[in-house]
Structure formats: C-alpha cells, structure tokens
C-alpha cells in the first residue's frame, strides 16, 4: 500500500483514539473520582450522581466507547482498503 495512505489511515486512527480515550478518562477519573463530591449534590433516579457514575455509569460508557470504536474502525478499514476481506497489499 502507498506510504502516504498508510500514514493518513494511522493519523485518523490516532484521532479516534484521542477522542474516545478522553471520554474514557472523563467518565471514570473525572466523574467517578475527581468531581465525585460535586456531582453527589445532584440526584439521579435515587442515586447521588457521583456515586452512580462511580458504580454504574462509567461502566456503561466504557461499553459504548468500545462499540463505537469497532464501528468507526471497520468503516475506516474499508475506506482505506486495508480490511481483511480484500486481497494482499
């Protein structure tokens, strides 16, 4: 495959990673640890909000992040023709 295309593929992959990992950091270390006391002042269906993020919400967002990544990367692989269904490079 062309060197330049390969570089662009990798760049796009890295930008997806940056955004998704930022979300990962925000819900776990952010909402669940650093700002948990501030969030606990609000209530969410019977839970203090920070407590909910720490014991429930963060995990649901983790799941969402992985599946979003799966979809994005499958699309990216096809766009740059590096997916595994095609022939050799």
């Amino acid at each position: 495959m062309h060197r330049e295309r390969r570089r662009r593929y990798w760049r796009t992959n890295l930008s997806y990673l940056a955004i998704l990992l930022a979300a990962w950091f925000l819900v776990s270390f952010g909402c669940g640890i650093l700002f948990v006391d501030q969030l606990d002042r609000y209530s969410f269906s019977g839970f203090p909000l920070g407590f909910w993020f720490a014991q429930q919400g963060a995990m649901y967002v983790f799941l969402l992040i992985i599946w979003v990544y799966v979809v994005l990367m499958n699309r990216l692989d096809r766009r740059f023709d590096v997916d595994e269904r095609g022939g050799s490079e």
């Binding site: 990962w24 019977g46 720490a54 995990m59 983790f62 992985i66 499958n74």
Partner: protein, 567 residues
C-alpha cells in the same frame, strides 16, 4: 431437599458439563494448544474472556469488599472494567495482527532481544502464579462450606478437573469449557440478586433496585443504608473515605494492570481476524459488565440486610446461617459486655464491636440471609467454583506456554520438535496445577496482598512496553529493557516494603504522596515510561526491519495468514 443435597446436584451437573466439553474439544497441535487454532468466533471468545477474567475475586469477594467500602469500592468496578477500553483500543487489534502465541513473543520480536523476552516470561509466570494461588483458595472455601468436605479434598477435586481439561485440551479445551463456565457463573450470580431485588425494592432489575425506595415505604434504599450505617458508627455508605489521589492511582493501576495481564491478552490471539479482536473485546466487556454492574447492587442489598438483621440481635435467636458460618470461622462473635446480644459497631460508635465478619462471605451467605430457596444456594456454590476454575485454567495455560514456548522453544532449544514442545507444555501445565494446589491447601497468609502485587507488576512491567511497541517506532531494545526493570523494581520494592517488611508503617502517613501499595503500579508505570523514553533517546534507534514490523502491525490486512506461517 437440603442445601447440601442441592449443592451436590448443582456442582456435580456443572462438573459433568465441563468434562464433556473437554473431551469434545481436545487439542492436537501446538497451534490448537496455544491459541485454539486461531479460529474462535469473536462472541465465543468474548464469553471465554469474561470467564477467564472473572475470578473467585470477582464472584466471591468483590461485592463483599464493596459492601464494606461503600462508594470507594468503585475502584474495583471502574478499574477492572476500564482496562478493557485500553485493551480494545490500544492493544488487542495490534497484538492479533502480530499473531504469534504469547505476550513475551511480542516483546521479544518487537525489541529484537532475548533478554527482553526472558524478562517478559519471568513477569508473566510470576503474575500468573500469584493469581492462581488465590483461585485454588476460593475453590477450597466453597467446598468446605457447602459440601462439608475437608478443604484438602476440595482443592484436590478442583485440581483434578482443571488438570483434565487444561492439560488435555490446552487453549482449545479451555476456551469451550470457559464458555460453559461463564453461563453457569452468570446465572448463579444473577438469580439470587433478582430474587432479592424483587423482595427489597419490588423490581427485578437490581441496577435500578438499589436506587429505588424500599418496598412498601418511601425511604430510598441507599438513604436507609446510610442511616443504618451512621447509627451503628460506620461511615455513610455513599460517601468516600480514601484520598482522591490514592483512589486515582489505585483505579489506574487496576485498569492498566487488567490491560497488561498475560492470560487476558493471550485470548485475543485466538480469534481469526483483527476486526474480530476488536469486536471480541466489546463482547467480553458486555459479558463482564453484566456481572460488574450487578455487583454494587448485591453489595448494597447485602449490607442493608446484614445491618438490619444482626444489629442488637439476641445471640440465642441468631438465624441458622449465622451459626453455620460461625462454625467455619468466617464469622466471629465475642460477647464483651456479656448481655447476650450482638453489638455490631463501627469505628465511630461508642462501645466495643463484638462481631467480626469476613468480607468474602457476603456473596455466598447472601441467599441464606435473604432466606432464598435451597437450590439457589447450591447454584451460587456452583457459580463460585466456575469462576475460580475458569480463571485458574487460563492462568495455567500462560504458565505452560511460558515454559514450553517462550523458554524451551524460543530461548534454549529452537530445534525442538513440535511433539516434544507439546509434551513439555502438557507437563508444565501439570506441574503448575500441582504447585497451585499446594498453595490452595496451604494458603500463604498473604494471598490478598499478592493479588495487589500481580496487578501492580502487570501495570508497571508490560503495559508501557506494549504501548510503546505499537505507538512509538523510535522505542528500542535498550529503552524497553531498562523501563521494564525499573518499573518492576520500584513496584516490587514499594509493595514489598509496606506489605512484608514494615507492615506496621502501612498507613497514609508513611506512603509516598499518599499512594497506597495497591496504587503503586501506577507510579511504577510512569517511572517505566519515563526511563524508557530517556534511555531510548540516548541510544541508537531500532533497525529498519523493526520499523517495518511496526508499520505492518498497524494495518489489519494480512492477519489471517500469520498463524499458518508459524504453525
């Protein structure tokens, strides 16, 4: 039927299932023994990964830990699930593209160095042994409590089962038995908590139930739990106790440790494609979250039930579960003031606490405390065994491949035939089962401590090296080796000092920056990365073929052939 009869039925049926699956899926080649031929469907691999990952600690201990820690218990919930995001996004697809058999393989090839490979094997074997000892201990607890069998016999039966399918079937046998074990363990975990949630909160969904008002009233469950806790002198359940930076480091160490654990990483070598490795991580986390999102509900229900049952209870009216667990020594009552009542009091209360409860029994005793039918209790016992055995098998496989593949084939005798390699792998698995069994029967008093060590070491040794290996081409042999050694050395020293040499100093006042030994892996990881970068920049860059190697693992195409080339 009695609890014991039901337990025999449940455990017996589940064991028969595992043996059947094991016979159906024997391994014939090293490729099947190490990575199940690389042809496992991503959903199946997700199920197997979930069972592999969720150990006796997740099934038996975690909810109990959370119910004593309250909000701070989230370090386990977020730490042990958040690692999968790192795995799915940063490691699994690339390791699958690399496609060889083990994690030390990747380290050895990427850093063109036998030294790096050997350091990695030693870490992998050490981490796996510390872990497997804990699993065998879990097997022993379940057997002795529910089947009234001596712990020794319990461990021996567990060893026999694991030996049978791990040694015969290798990764292929383990994969399919783990699928069966996942089904048993998740069913066993969910059934009692759904019952309890219906009884306590009037909803079958426990995740909603522990945020709901108590059935037949308008007080919220968590509020009631907070009141009960404060009345008895404990901290508010929904409030934190630990320092923010310590929580931060503990969570990070568990997350990164999860992503660096060799028995989990190796599961991603078993799927046929790179895209399947990504999907597989998604399935794995889904199946894990099914249990993990339920665990905090179990904790809150169990804690509420416990506090309202035992507080100021006359000792001679104690329920049956209380005396059965007292007989195992996991509940202790000491009537200090001689009034014949149980005073269960926290550190903030006046008066002396008279009750000591082992955190590990909360999940196992929960169905009894909530007075659920006997078959549910038997089911929980089978689930605990499934969790312990599935993890033990995955760990034993890492040890046996470490010995047969990384040490024998790749380091000492490259010319060894496939048959000898396979036989060595089986013998190594057998020896590992024996050693693990020994630790299960004679548990070292420090099982809980060494698990912290295992995560810390995985975080401080593997994770940075793997990340740099994929994301930074400039990282070279010298940087990787010095990074691993520094990370490992620091973490070992920090945890060793506070846990073994000077346990009396193990308190926030003496910790560096308030970081507990459980969080030391995070500091070790940062040190590892810093040293690795520094050394790499002062030494020559890696040779051209390594740069091509990195380019190659970054694109998915061509992953299907990597197994066939080596087989």
């Amino acid at each position: 039927m009695s609890v014991q009869a039901w337990t025999f039925v449940m455990v017996g049926l589940s064991f028969a299932l595992y043996i059947g699956v094991a016979i159906w899926s024997r391994a014939g080649s090293t490729g099947e023994f190490y990575v199940a031929g690389g042809q496992v469907h991503p959903t199946v691999n997700g199920l197997a990964t979930a069972a592999d990952w969720m150990s006796a600690a997740s099934f038996i201990s975690m909810a109990g830990l959370i119910s004593f820690m309250g909000r701070d218990g989230s370090v386990y919930l977020m730490g042990w699930t958040g690692g999968y995001v790192l795995l799915a996004l940063c490691l699994a697809p690339y390791l699958r593209k690399f496609g060889k058999y083990t994690v030390p393989d990747f380290v050895g090839d990427r850093y063109y160095s036998q030294t790096a490979r050997v350091v990695a094997v030693v870490c992998a074997i050490f981490v796996s042994f510390t872990y497997v000892a804990g699993q065998m201990r879990g097997v022993g607890i379940v057997f002795s409590r529910f089947l009234d069998v001596d712990i020794t016999y319990g461990v021996l039966i567990g060893m026999g089962i694991v030996f049978f399918y791990a040694v015969l079937g290798g990764m292929k046998g383990i994969t399919y038995t783990q699928v069966a074990q996942y089904c048993v363990l998740i069913f066993a975990y969910l059934v009692p908590v759904i019952f309890i949630s219906l009884m306590v909160a009037g909803t079958p969904i426990p995740q909603l139930g522990f945020g709901s008002p108590v059935a037949g009233g308008d007080t919220f469950l968590l509020e009631r739990l907070n009141q009960l806790s404060v009345e008895l002198g404990f901290h508010r359940y929904t409030a934190g106790q630990k320092g923010t930076f310590d929580l931060f480091c503990m969570t990070a160490a568990l997350m990164v440790g999860t992503a660096g654990l060799p028995h989990v990483l190796v599961r991603f070598y078993t799927v046929p494609r790179v895209s399947a490795a990504r999907t597989s991580a998604g399935w794995a986390l889904l199946f894990i979250v099914l249990l993990y999102a339920t665990a905090p509900a179990v904790s809150a229900f169990a804690r509420t039930n416990l506090l309202s049952t035992v507080a100021d209870m006359p000792y001679d009216q104690a329920p049956t579960w209380f005396s059965t667990w007292e007989a195992t020594g996991l509940i202790r009552f000491d009537d200090h003031n001689g009034d014949g009542r149980v005073q269960y009091l926290g550190p903030n209360a006046e008066g002396t606490n008279e009750l000591w409860i082992d955190k590990d029994i909360m999940v196992l005793a929960n169905p009894e405390i909530a007075q659920l039918p006997n078959w549910v209790i038997g089911l929980v016992a089978a689930g605990g065994l499934a969790a312990a055995l599935s993890t033990a098998a995955g760990l034993l496989l890492v040890i046996s491949t470490g010995v047969a593949h990384d040490l024998l084939k790749k380091t000492f005798r490259p010319d060894v035939s496939e048959r000898t390699e396979l036989r060595t792998a089986r013998v190594a698995a057998g020896v590992a089962v024996l050693i693990a069994g020994y630790f299960g029967i004679n548990p070292p008093g420090f099982v809980a401590e060494v698990v912290a060590l295992a995560f810390g070491l995985a975080a401080a040794s593997f994770f940075p090296v793997l990340m740099f290996g994929i994301f930074w081409k400039r990282m070279n042999r010298e940087g990787a080796i010095s990074g691993m050694l520094i990370g490992l050395g620091f973490t070992l020293a920090y945890i060793g000092y506070f846990k073994f040499f000077a346990p009396e100093l193990n308190s926030p006042a003496h910790w560096w920056w308030g970081v507990s030994p459980e969080g030391a892996g995070t500091i070790g990881m940062v040190l590892n990365a810093a040293v690795a970068v520094g050394v790499a920049l002062c030494t020559p860059p890696p040779p051209d073929h390594i740069q091509d190697f990195v380019d190659d693992i970054r694109v998915p195409r061509g992953a299907g052939v990597s197994h066939q080339l080596d087989a």
